[in-house]
């Protein structure tokens, strides 16, 4: 009843190509944006912003980056954590060299370093695919992690071996370091992640995005249509690594405040990969779903027990959280192997024809 396309006619190709062709979807989008820009800042406390919203958006951004490479271009990568690390260390070095420059600008620039390294480690994809490619990206993961530990120049010869974010300004407001307010950091992360989402959606629905998907679905046919595998694959690696690097820089500068090399270990790569797979490969919205599922749900569960008045030890809650999340992952992957985004799409499709089973 509420969700109908009846009476909504498209009379031009531009209207037909719209990302949200249905009025109901546009209303939903507007409501979500209103919540993100108004409701959350007004009602959320620092804990909610710093521990839930900011990491959620950063992980969503990283999952989008991985989704470009794995979901759209079909190249499996286990080096996400390392590419995020490259972004973080690049931003740290840049702000050490140019302390007066706007930190948001430096974070955006740091992605280019990650993109360059991504292209180099993407070169094997021209020869190998699938799991074998994943193994070569694993090499990137270990090599780069080694660099973060063994090259002291990267962390300014800091005795702790970690990078500590200095206080930096953006547009005259303190944006990073201990003195930066959670609200400022939230708005920066929100703006960057949303911008990445919109720009990537535009790329994906155009001929460049199609060339990625052509390589993913059938690389031989793509080549016979005139796609150069070299350009298509390396551009996917570059764009993906840029976004991952951006997410890594945001992670250190606007969320953690400090990071050791182990923050960018293989477990981060897997975490992002799970978000992308669980949310839905080949879906930008799925990246948000996946990040929410992996990041927000455990926090909710952890607080649910005390809130319900169930008094069990913190340790037990931790274990229960793992068990519940693990069970849910298995449940969702059996229910819909294509991820939460597909479940969402199926749900909307059913709602569209409700109360009838077919449209």
């Amino acid at each position: 009843m509420l969700y109908r396309e009846a009476g909504q006619f498209k009379t031009s190709y531009a209207a037909d190509q719209a990302v949200f062709p249905l009025r109901e979807d546009r209303i939903g989008l507007a409501a979500t944006l209103f919540a993100a820009f108004v409701l959350v800042p007004v009602f959320a406390d620092d804990f909610f912003l710093s521990s839930i919203m900011i990491p959620f958006l950063i992980f969503a951004c990283a999952a989008i980056g991985l989704n470009i490479l794995t979901g759209y271009a079909g190249q499996l990568s286990l080096g996400t954590g390392a590419f995020m690390g490259v972004g973080a260390y690049a931003a740290y070095k840049l702000t050490s060299i140019f302390p007066e420059t706007n930190i948001v600008l430096l974070v955006l620039v740091s992605g280019f370093f990650s993109a360059a390294i991504g292209i180099v480690f993407g070169l094997p994809s021209l020869r190998i695919k699938g799991l074998y490619l994943a193994v070569t990206t694993l090499a990137a993961q270990f090599f780069l992690e080694w660099c973060f530990i063994r090259i002291p120049w990267l962390y300014n010869y800091n005795s702790s071996g970690a990078i500590e974010v200095p206080q930096r300004e953006a547009f005259g407001i303190i944006a990073s370091g201990p003195a930066a307010s959670a609200l400022t950091r939230y708005f920066i992360v929100l703006a960057i992640t949303l911008a990445v989402t919109v720009l990537m959606k535009n790329v994906i629905r155009g001929h460049i995005g199609r060339s990625w998907m052509m390589i993913r679905d059938m690389d031989i046919a793509a080549e016979l249509i005139g796609i150069r595998p070299l350009y298509a694959k390396l551009s996917a690696f570059a764009v993906s690594s840029y976004i991952c690097g951006l997410a890594g820089a945001m992670m250190v500068f606007f969320w953690l405040g400090a990071a050791e090399p182990s923050a960018f270990s293989i477990s981060l790569s897997f975490q992002i990969l799970f978000m992308a797979i669980l949310g839905g490969l080949g879906s930008l919205m799925g990246s948000y779903f996946g990040a929410a599922f992996i990041w927000i749900l455990p926090v909710v569960i952890r607080f649910a027990f005390p809130a319900l008045g169930i008094d069990i030890g913190a340790e037990t809650v931790q274990h229960l959280t793992f068990m519940i999340i693990g069970a849910l992952i298995i449940f969702f992957l059996i229910a819909e192997p294509h991820g939460l985004a597909r479940l969402w799409a199926i749900g909307k499709e059913k709602l569209r024809v409700w109360p009838f089973p077919y449209g």
Binding site: Y13, A14, Q17, L199, M200, N202, V203, R205, G206, H207, I208, G209, R210, S211, M213, M214, R216, D217, M218, I220, A221, A222, E223, L224, I225, G226, I227, R228, S235, V239, G282
Partner: protein
């Protein structure tokens, strides 16, 4: 069916054929040999394809027909011989170069992009003609959208032509086989090729689908003037559609000529029916 077509065909077909065959040579294959290790797939085959004609390549299983198409569009590199396309001789080329020179192709086993809709699959055929760079694409509104809509318009004409309007937004993986074949033809047409290679466009189809596909092939030839090279096992279809036929057997050319000439050729009959040694 076949007899009927033979009876009715010659009245119109040869005349149309003659007119076409006077066209200049578009592609000439000269003394091509291709082998994989010790296996000789093609040995010393020469023939040409003239502008505007429908040229059939036939032969029993394993005769080297598909290998021939793979050589023409640069997927295989022959050890010997040359290929001249539009007056340009080439030895080795990558498939995307062949595509950019105007050679399009469909596959024996449908090679569509399974995760994409019919529309996106056909739009993908326009890839070589779309040039807006990454930054325009990110902005979308403006040049990138104008380009997309201009190409969409051409793609819609093809969708119209192939009568697949109703499956425009359907993911191709969900389509029945016959329609998938049609979408694949649409994708090749979207490239606006000079030479269209069709590898068994009617394999696995029922009679009605075959008739539809035959009609589309004739219409493509008539309306767009596209030169077509066709591999097909259904002799009725081959004899009706094609202007000239080349017959391969065990990698060698055994006959070349109009359908009537080929049909009467003793070597061809032997190759198909077998011969007592």
């Amino acid at each position: 069916m076949r007899v009927d077509a033979e009876g009715g065909g010659p009245g119109a077909a040869p005349k149309k054929g003659e007119e076409r065959i006077t066209g200049e040579v578009l592609l000439s294959i000269d003394d091509i040999s291709l082998s994989f290790g010790g296996v000789k797939a093609i040995s010393h085959v020469s023939f040409d394809i003239r502008k505007g004609e429908i040229r059939a390549i036939i032969g029993p299983n394993g005769a080297g027909k598909t290998s021939m198409l793979n050589v023409i569009n640069g997927f295989y590199h022959p050890q010997e011989g040359t290929i001249t396309f539009k007056g340009e001789t080439r030895a080795k080329m990558r498939p995307y170069v062949a595509a950019s020179q105007g050679i399009a192709r469909t596959f024996q086993n449908v090679a569509l992009f399974k995760g994409m809709s019919t529309l996106d699959n056909i739009m993908s055929g326009r890839s070589l003609k779309m040039h807006r760079n990454f930054f325009w694409q990110m902005l979308w509104f403006g040049p990138a959208q104008r380009e997309e809509i201009a190409h969409r318009r051409r793609v819609e004409e093809i969708i119209d032509f192939l009568e697949i309007e109703h499956i425009r937004k359907t993911p191709v993986g969900k389509l029945p086989y016959g329609l998938q074949k049609r979408v694949e033809l649409g994708r090749a047409l979207a490239m606006e090729p000079d030479l269209l290679l069709l590898d068994e466009p009617m394999a696995g189809m029922n009679l009605e689908e075959k008739e539809d596909m035959s009609r589309f092939i004739i219409d493509v030839s008539d309306q767009f003037g596209t030169t077509i090279a066709l591999i097909e096992h259904d002799m009725g279809v081959v004899m009706d559609l094609s202007d000239r036929v080349v017959v391969l057997d065990y990698g060698s050319k055994i006959a070349d000529g109009t359908p009537d000439e080929v049909r009467g050729n003793q070597k061809v009959i032997d190759a198909y029916l077998g011969v007592a040694h």
